[in-house]
């Protein structure tokens, strides 16, 4: 194995970490964030919510079980760059078909290894997330100058990049269509794709739904013309303040079909409910985030990946905060008082992460099945 070339992670505040290049050559720029999951790198790398970001994994050994053909959460490798303490080229797993480094290289994503990821995490924790660049073809000073000339994370519309360009029916041969009770026709769920993860659609399909994913620009009337039994507004990257068009779509759907909102979908619905949104200092990214259901008092471990959050203080009277983050009180779920609309800030579809809240898809399906039969046409 040839020695890996020197590489640098340069942050916009001037801090430089020296390591070795892994993955694709060249340089890359993004918002540097960290994730504390100890497993699930392939799912994270292909999660559209990481679009525009350089992902740092806090667990030091990455690539242990290689990569495989079925753990991608979207068609692309979504992160802009990958930062690890140690990247192994000697994976051991029966399903592994490629090393993590080759996986990155094949998809053109640069990475850096042999850096003190804990120091990076501590830096981000104390000063907040920051733009950064991974480079191996410049000096750190050149990279910093280039970084300062490049657009900030907040300035870019990532939803357009990751959303489907045209509507499609989700067919996944690996996930057999679940049966419906009493031989009822399969419910039809429209997924408003702001950057959907495949596992959301797989879990719906397992529950017997037929699924149509539509572009983020699709308006309410178009969606309703598809005669959905329910609409899921998906997770996705970036600032919910950029999504006024999705807000108006959502307004047009509430009261006319059951809705579940996840992550960015939750933030959009939060805005529809009158709330504002704000950027967290360093976000929530990991598989161990405790969320309390305000009704039952039960606490669930959740997978999270978000940099923005809903401010629950100014919600409309017919909406309420249903779930809160135990650690910092972040709004983690919303519910409408009368309509079958609920949201979660976290990822009940997991992948990666705990499956503790997968039952929320059953709750959504219960709403879907309770809907008027006439809506199914």
């Amino acid at each position: 194995m040839p020695p890996r070339p020197p590489a640098w992670l340069v942050l916009a505040d001037g801090r430089v970490f020296e390591g070795v290049g892994v993955g694709a050559p060249g340089h890359t720029t993004g918002e540097v964030v960290f994730n504390t999951s100890m497993m699930g790198y392939q799912e994270a790398l292909t999660d559209p919510s990481y679009r525009g970001q350089i992902l740092t994994m806090t667990y030091p050994l990455q690539g242990n079980y290689g990569t495989n053909g079925f753990s991608d959460e979207s068609a692309e490798l979504q992160v802009r760059g990958f930062v690890v303490r140690e990247m192994t080229d000697l994976p051991s797993h029966w399903q592994s078909t490629d090393t993590l480094s080759a996986f990155l290289e094949r998809r053109g994503i640069p990475g850096i290894a042999e850096v003190d990821t804990r120091a990076i995490t501590r830096h981000l924790r104390s000063r907040g997330v920051v733009m950064g660049t991974i480079t191996r073809d410049e000096t750190p000073a050149q990279a910093l100058a280039r970084l300062h000339s490049e657009p900030d994370y907040a300035a870019l519309d990532y939803v357009t990049e990751v959303s489907t360009k045209s509507a499609y029916d989700f067919e996944d041969l690996g996930t057999p269509l679940g049966g419906s009770p009493d031989g009822a026709p399969a419910p039809h769920v429209v997924v408003l794709d702001l950057g959907v993860k495949r596992n959301i659609m797989r879990l719906l399909r397992e529950r017997g739904c037929t699924i149509t994913a539509v572009p983020h620009t699709t308006d309410a009337e178009t969606i309703l013309s598809m005669k959905p039994d329910g609409v899921l507004i998906s997770p996705g990257p970036g600032d919910p303040m950029l999504l006024d068009h999705v807000l108006s779509t959502t307004r047009g759907l509430i009261g006319r079909t059951p809705i579940m909102g996840i992550c960015l979908g939750h933030q959009v619905i939060g805005r529809v409910f009158g709330a504002s949104t704000y950027k967290l200092k360093f976000g929530h990214r990991g598989a161990n985030h405790p969320v309390r259901d305000e009704v039952t008092g039960r606490v669930y471990m959740t997978a999270q990946n978000h940099g923005f959050a809903v401010d629950g203080d100014h919600l409309d009277a017919d909406a309420r905060v249903s779930q809160l983050h135990i650690n910092d009180g972040t709004v983690e779920g919303l519910a409408h008082a009368t309509e079958p609309v609920f949201t979660i800030q976290y990822h009940s579809e997991a992948s990666p992460g705990p499956n503790d809240t997968e039952f929320l898809f059953d709750r959504f399906l219960a709403n879907v099945r309770a809907g008027e039969p006439s809506r199914r046409g």
Partner: protein
């Protein structure tokens, strides 16, 4: 963990390096799991949560799984889901377990503390995470490091024991190490084992081209040795079932060995070796330098460990708990607190025979005493099973190997470029006290007794000179190198003599030798093992007495004297000890106080000291007959026992002396602390049933793995309690098998009468039966093993007898003879087996005493209250 509100969380997932079939307690364990994908992990996680819910557990639970690593390993037709492999639940412990202790230390999540709070009705989210102080117990720890646990097995003590590992756990303790690389954690864990001088480079001289890969305590070395011989990780994985991921990691270690052997040592190479956990000592061996030269190069090139915090959250939150491990990386988080007076307490490492949990008691007490005195306590230890490695025991915890390199590194870190804080080396057993020399040589300060004091007590020649100048008697003896000298010395001091190698290598133990033929046999074997000189001391046949003392340089406080029930020749750790002594004369007691006081002052002890005496009036007709056998310039395993029964806070007094306070300042005077009106008996506990092939007879080599205490107002009641607690109780009417050595038969006569009087039917082997019949007492004679049935082993195995008294010829056991089988079978049937007439007599006399022991809190016995 699960609370009453049905919130369930997983604290830690750990992977055994050894494939299924080796007890988890005997497996090398890694946290977090290394070879599982998220999908694999979630499958097992979901299963564990289902189990804890189905069982309705509120608190902690431990679930062990076996997961097929590949589809071809287990034929499976359970599901059409081709993305997951079959797994089986091996075991569920609906309680906090040994693994929970490891998980707590590996993650920083205090499982027992949280389980206790759940037990009083708290919900997980209502319990504060005391590591971050800003999050709650309702979360799953995120690790940003790798943890390796290696068991500590007793095969250094039991060379004859079967080293194969299986479903019966054999380890006595364990070590844990943390690093940001797996290799680093593994190598630090190996350094922490203190198993002889074994480093990662060790190989057995018996291994040829194919080191044995079966599951033994030596497998980790055999795996690496196989890689050195050119076998590939995949081949080895195929042969032994260890996951190839681990073998690839070992291969990286072997590749680095080759580089260190072949290349010039450069900053880049040295740094890479340190990142892979190579000790300076091993780098020195490979790169042909001295360890100190490697250290000097590291200094010159600025290659020093950084210390990272175990914070439960992978740095997501600012944590307040100063729990650190070393790694070779950029950012050091353990910045020294130079504004405060600080002291390092060096811990005692893994629990092993001879160095048990008693020393952790001392380390914990020392840390608390420092805190009480307003001094910042820093603790270093490598043992995850202990209270000393709880993050709230000290002000700062370093989870590190207790070897010269790691202790010097952390002291240099604490020095912050200035003066390092003093180290306390007298509480962590021999592990810590052995650090005195190297620390002194590195000009690092030692609190309490100096390195020279320690050397004075441990160097035979210097110690003899001091005793002789103080006119304090020792059993006569000498060190010899030839058989002729041995015969001459033994003849001069007269048999029996106690012999031992001057350096203990392998399993060669101390023995009591009765004549020239035995001496010839011992000497030949010892020389064949290359042990150098053999030490020969007069064996004085009398009771042993032990004291712990505290010295401030002017006064010497003796909190108590302990008398052993077994005569000299049985290791003090395997003896039953009684406080206060029952058989000493006033003259002997005064001599013990006088000798102890004068020795402590002459040696320059500051802090604790332990002395062992033998009482042999016949050997000194014109004096008290008190002889010094051994002085340990450190706390001993009896310090917790004596502290508890006397109420004297021994460790605290010793720590305060190190901080400059005299005994008088602390309200204590020299001399013997007034004896309490109670009797306390400390009895050893053995794990022999689990160690196949190990002989159980008591001798000069320690074998016990734990101890119990019985306390009451009378001797017999205290002994009874100790016997019950150590599973040695003999009830009236219990049939007893006797097989006695020739020399002990006369002495056993009163014992036989006692047994008969207590209604115990007697069984005996031929010679012993004749002796019993001669006393006019009925006896059932049983034959030897090869002489038909029912023989001695049959009556043990079929339950005919409920206790065994078996003494051995010459105080020495020959493996595989009848006596060995008698003792092994008794042990395996878990019935009392006495190999010392002294222990047997105490047990039988206690049996004869009426059933009137009392039950009171310790403090009431101590303060003289009666119920």
């Amino acid at each position: 963990m699960r609370d009453a509100n049905d919130t369930c969380i997983i604290i830690c997932n750990m992977e055994n390096l050894d494939p299924m079939g080796v007890h988890t307690g005997d497996s090398i364990v890694v946290a977090p799991s290394q070879t599982l994908s998220d999908r694999d992990h979630q499958m097992l996680r979901n299963s564990a949560l289902k189990i804890i819910r189905a069982l309705g557990i509120e608190g902690g639970c431990n679930v062990q799984f076996a997961l097929a690593p590949r589809p071809d390993v287990v034929a499976w037709d359970g599901s059409d889901d081709a993305t997951c492999l079959p797994y089986h639940v091996i075991e569920v412990n609906p309680r906090v377990s040994r693994s929970s202790a490891l998980a707590s230390k590996a993650t920083g999540y205090p499982i027992a503390r949280v389980a206790a709070k759940i037990a009083i009705g708290k919900s997980l989210h209502e319990i504060q995470n005391s590591v971050t102080e800003r999050t709650t117990a309702a979360f799953e720890p995120a690790l940003d490091y790798t943890v390796v646990k290696i068991p500590r097995w007793p095969f250094d003590k039991f060379a004859a024991g079967d080293r194969h590992l299986g479903t019966q756990m054999k380890a006595t303790g364990e070590v844990m190490a943390i690093d940001r690389t797996f290799e680093g954690a593994l190598q630090k864990a190996i350094r922490s084992l203190e198993f002889g001088q074994r480093s990662i480079l060790w190989e057995s001289p018996d291994w040829g081209d194919h080191p044995p890969l079966d599951a033994t305590d030596e497998r980790i070395w055999a795996l690496i040795a196989s890689l050195r011989r050119g076998r590939t990780p995949m081949e080895i994985a195929h042969d032994c079932g260890v996951d190839p991921w681990f073998l690839e990691r070992f291969a990286r270690i072997v590749a680095m060995e080759r580089r260190l052997l072949a290349e010039d040592l450069t900053p880049t190479l040295l740094c890479a070796a340190k990142r892979l956990g190579f000790a300076d000592r091993d780098i020195a061996t490979l790169a042909d330098r001295l360890p100190e030269q490697v250290r000097a190069l590291r200094d010159e090139w600025g290659i020093r460990p950084a210390y990272k915090m175990v914070d439960t959250c992978a740095a997501e939150f600012d944590a307040v708990t100063p729990y650190f491990y070393s790694t070779y990386e950029e950012e050091n988080e353990a910045l020294p607190n130079l504004d405060r007076e600080r002291m390092l307490v060096v811990g005692s490492g893994p629990i092993r025979i001879g160095q048990g949990i008693e020393f952790d008691y001392c380390s914990v007490r020392a840390a608390r005493a420092l805190q009480d005195a307003g001094v910042m306590s820093i603790l270093a230890n490598s043992n995850p099973e202990t209270a000393s490695t709880d993050f709230d025991t000290s002000d700062r915890l370093y989870f590190e190997p207790l070897d010269e390199e790691s202790v010097r590194d952390l002291l240099e870190n604490e020095a912050g470029g200035g003066e390092a804080p003093p180290s306390i080396v007298q509480f962590g057993g021999q592990t810590a006290v052995n650090m005195a020399g190297p620390l002194h040589a590195a000009a690092l300060p030692i609190a309490g007794s100096s390195a020279d004091t320690i050397d004075l007590a441990e160097d035979r020649g210097r110690f003899e000179a001091i005793l002789s100048s103080l006119d304090i008697p020792q059993p006569p003896g000498a060190g010899v190198r030839t058989l002729e000298d041995a015969f001459t010395t033994a003849a001069a001091i007269r048999y029996p003599v106690l012999v031992r190698p001057s350096y203990v290598l392998g399993g060669r133990a101390m023995e009591v030798v009765h004549d020239e033929s035995e001496l010839r046999r011992y000497f030949g074997a010892a020389l064949a093992e290359g042990t150098g000189a053999v030490l020969i001391d007069k064996y004085l046949d009398g009771p042993e007495v032990e004291v712990d003392a505290i010295c401030d340089g002017n006064a010497v406080l003796i909190p108590g004297i302990m008398e052993h029930i077994e005569r000299a020749g049985v290791h003090s750790g395997d003896s039953m000890a009684v406080y206060p002594p029952q058989r000493l004369t006033a003259e002997q007691r005064d001599a013990i106080i006088d000798y102890t006081t004068r020795m402590a002052l002459a040696l320059g002890v500051r802090g604790l000291m332990n002395v062992q005496f033998v009482i042999a009036p016949s050997a000194q007709p014109d004096g008290p007959g008190v002889f010094v056998i051994e002085v340990n310039p450190r706390s001993s395993r009896t310090v917790p026992f004596l502290s508890k029964v006397t109420g004297v806070p021994m460790v605290q007094l010793a720590v305060n002396i190190m901080l400059g306070k005299s005994l008088k300042d602390q309200g204590y005077e020299g001399g013997l602390w007034p004896e309490r009106d109670l009797v306390a008996v400390k009895a050893p506990v053995f794990s022999m049933a689990k160690l196949i092939g190990v002989d159980t007879f008591l001798g000069p080599e320690m074998k016990s793995t734990g101890e119990v205490m019985g306390i009451d107002h009378t001797f017999d009641a205290a002994v009874r309690k100790a016997m019950i607690a150590s599973d040695l109780e003999v009830r009236p009417g219990t049939p007893v098998l006797l097989s006695l050595a020739r020399q002990t038969k006369d002495e056993a006569t009163p014992l036989v009468h006692l047994l008969h009087a207590a209604g115990c039917p007697l069984y005996a082997t031929e010679g012993t039966a004749a002796m019993i019949r001669g006393l006019g007492i009925p006896v059932t004679e049983v034959t030897k093993i090869l002489e038909g049935h029912p023989n001695v082993v049959d009556v043990i195995r079929d339950g005919s007898v409920g206790a065994v008294i078996n003494t051995i010829e010459g105080g020495r056991a020959e493996v595989r003879r009848d006596g060995f089988h008698i003792r092994r079978n008794a042990t395996e049937m878990r019935i009392p087996c006495f190999t010392s007439l002294d222990t047997a007599r105490a047990a039988i006399e206690a049996l004869a005493a009426p059933d009137d022991y009392s039950v009171q809190p310790l403090i009431e016995y101590r303060d003289g209250m009666t119920s």
